[in-house]
């Protein structure tokens, strides 16, 4: 079934990898507190399309709605309004087929901490129908490429550094060869070298495996380096979209930082500091 869906999608070259139409999501507070507990509109009528083979960068400050949007696209949240389709499949109606086509890397590595990288990845592979022997071969190859030595692959995850854990998380996503990969701030907290290794791997994945990638980041340099097109998210709304050059041309020229400042009225670092408290 999974293979049939993939083959059909490969044949349909013109289908958008991801199409979101007027998607909104609000969260109500768990308990009404006098003087507080307002409903938070995390995503506000966002429409965007990501084309097959594209790397789309979603740029925004902390609390701008990036992670909520990724969780909506990952089937972990249902939108209040609007529709989302992945390769033409409705995310709600065709949920299981959609899940076979996507994978996600979140800002937290999210593993069974006492299991080794190999155990975690073979388990993840099983869930996506990858036989254990094939998983083991691919895991060794991917982790070596990401700079993790063989003996570390058998150590419990909680013995590995944050950077290594994040690389294992990236390996988990690549292991299942998703047609759409959702990367939610995958390099946050990594050192410069690890960040570069991951960025190179992301580009290679797109080039070698025909993958489409939606990347959220609040790193302007990373967005410019990786993304073919960039969307800027501000307070839950998509306020601009285009290639870095198009954005610069449309919004007064200059750097991506200048564009962000023009559109949001703040520098990205300042927005991060002030919006960090905004729940999404």
């Amino acid at each position: 079934m999974a293979i049939e869906v993939r083959e059909r999608i490969r044949a349909e070259k013109k289908t958008a990898a991801l199409a979101a139409c007027a998607v909104s999501k609000a969260f109500k507070p768990a308990r009404v507190v006098p003087g507080g507990g307002m409903t938070v509109r995390a995503v506000d009528r966002v429409s965007l399309s990501v084309w097959r083979g594209e790397i789309y960068g979603l740029l925004g400050a902390n609390g701008s709605g990036k992670s909520t949007l990724i969780r909506l696209f990952s089937t972990l949240l249902t939108p209040d309004t609007g529709t989302v389709s992945i390769f033409g499949l409705d995310i709600d109606r065709d949920e299981l087929d959609v899940k076979r086509l996507i994978n996600r890397v979140s800002v937290e590595a999210s593993f069974f901490k006492k299991l080794s990288a190999m155990e975690n990845l073979v388990y993840a592979g099983r869930l996506y129908g990858v036989p254990p022997d094939e998983s083991r071969r691919k895991v060794v190859s991917i982790l070596r490429r990401l700079g993790i030595e063989d003996p570390r692959m058998k150590e419990p995850l909680d013995k590995l550094s944050r950077g290594m854990q994040q690389k294992v998380a990236i390996a988990r996503a690549f292991l299942t060869t998703p047609m759409l990969l959702l990367l939610d701030e995958p390099t946050t907290g990594l050192d410069i070298r690890s960040k570069r290794e991951v960025q190179t791997f992301v580009r290679d994945l797109r080039d070698e495996h025909d993958a489409t990638i939606l990347l959220t980041t609040h790193d302007l340099d990373e967005a410019a380096r990786l993304a073919d097109r960039i969307g800027i998210l501000h307070q839950g709304r998509l306020v601009a979209e285009g290639t870095p050059e198009e954005l610069a041309a449309r919004h007064g020229g200059g750097t991506l930082e200048d564009v962000f400042m023009t559109l949001t009225g703040r520098r990205l670092e300042d927005a991060d500091a002030t919006d960090a408290e905004r729940p999404t």
């Binding site: 006492k114 869930l127 129908g129």
Partner: protein
């Protein structure tokens, strides 16, 4: 069709393999729970042995032996059913704590297959623990199983396990809906089931309103039937009056538990509760 069933079983096995690997890594905690189970069962057996002394009179050794077996059947059967309940109820809470819940729910695995896999893992653990506890207790306390009907006892345990799985799946919904306090709610359900199911005494001594609850607890029938089979050698025909209610509870509770779980999952997705905590 067969290939699809095979694929689903393969997916379900992923959860069994994962749980076995986790048990190995958390081996020290497994030993704690095993020792706790043995000590609790032994303590209950010693209460039975000391009953004549506590009551201040003499008692027929055969009656004491019967009392000890009566209590042991209750405590070990409850340990078996309780483990199923606890592990299934902790399915969600554990993954929240590990931080893997989003990845499990994002995986292309039908929820029924996921829960079936967790049931398999739970049964492996519960059988292993119960056999180990029974063997350890038999080393310290004379257990007279000369009249036991093993076949009837095994069938009752299997039916009881199935019935408890449905109840446990229903209880796993609490941590799905209440991220912070859901597991505590599940433990309260388990405690109430322990009270009303006649684990250490006949349910007839309970107040009327508790007897109503004992009527809907599958553990009541399983424990009562186990006693008939192991103390009096009742065969399958003789334990049928306790077997069929447990079957009925299982037949109702599993589809109902699954349905409630699926509803809770949709609710969690609407309200943003399908996320890690801790």
């Amino acid at each position: 069709m067969i290939a699809d069933v095979g694929a689903q079983l393969g997916l379900a096995y992923a959860f069994v393999e994962r749980e076995v690997a986790l048990s190995k890594r958390y081996w020290a905690w497994e030993i704690v729970w095993l020792v706790y189970g043995i000590v609790t069962s032994l303590s209950v057996a010693y209460i039975g042995l000391a009953a004549p002394t506590i009551a201040g009179g003499s008692s027929d050794p055969a009656a004491v032996s019967r009392l000890v077996l009566y209590l042991l059947v209750g405590t070990i059967t409850w340990r078996f059913l309780g483990l199923i309940f606890e592990q299934m109820a902790e399915t969600i809470a554990w993954e929240r704590w590990e931080g893997t819940i989003e990845y499990t729910f994002m995986a292309p695995v039908p929820r029924v297959t996921h829960l079936l896999g967790m049931c398999g893992a739970t049964l492996v653990r519960a059988v292993g623990f119960s056999v180990a506890i029974l063997a350890a207790v038999a080393l310290f306390v004379p257990v007279d199983l000369s009249h036991a009907n093993a076949l009837a006892a095994i069938v009752l345990l299997l039916v009881g396990a199935v019935a408890f799985v449905g109840l446990a799946i229903g209880s796993a919904v609490f941590p799905l809906l209440w991220t912070e306090k859901g597991l505590q709610m599940a433990y309260i359900v388990q405690a109430v089931v322990l009270l009303v199911s006649g684990v250490y005494y006949p349910t007839t001594i309970l107040p009327g309103w508790m007897q109503v609850l004992s009527f809907i607890s599958p553990a009541t029938y399983v424990i009562r039937g186990m006693r008939d089979a192991l103390l009096d050698g009742a065969d399958l025909g003789a334990v049928w009056p306790n077997l069929w209610p447990a079957l009925v509870v299982g037949a109702i509770s599993i589809p109902l538990g699954m349905r409630v779980f699926l509803w809770a999952e949709r609710h969690a997705k609407r309200t943003g509760r399908l996320k890690r905590s801790g």
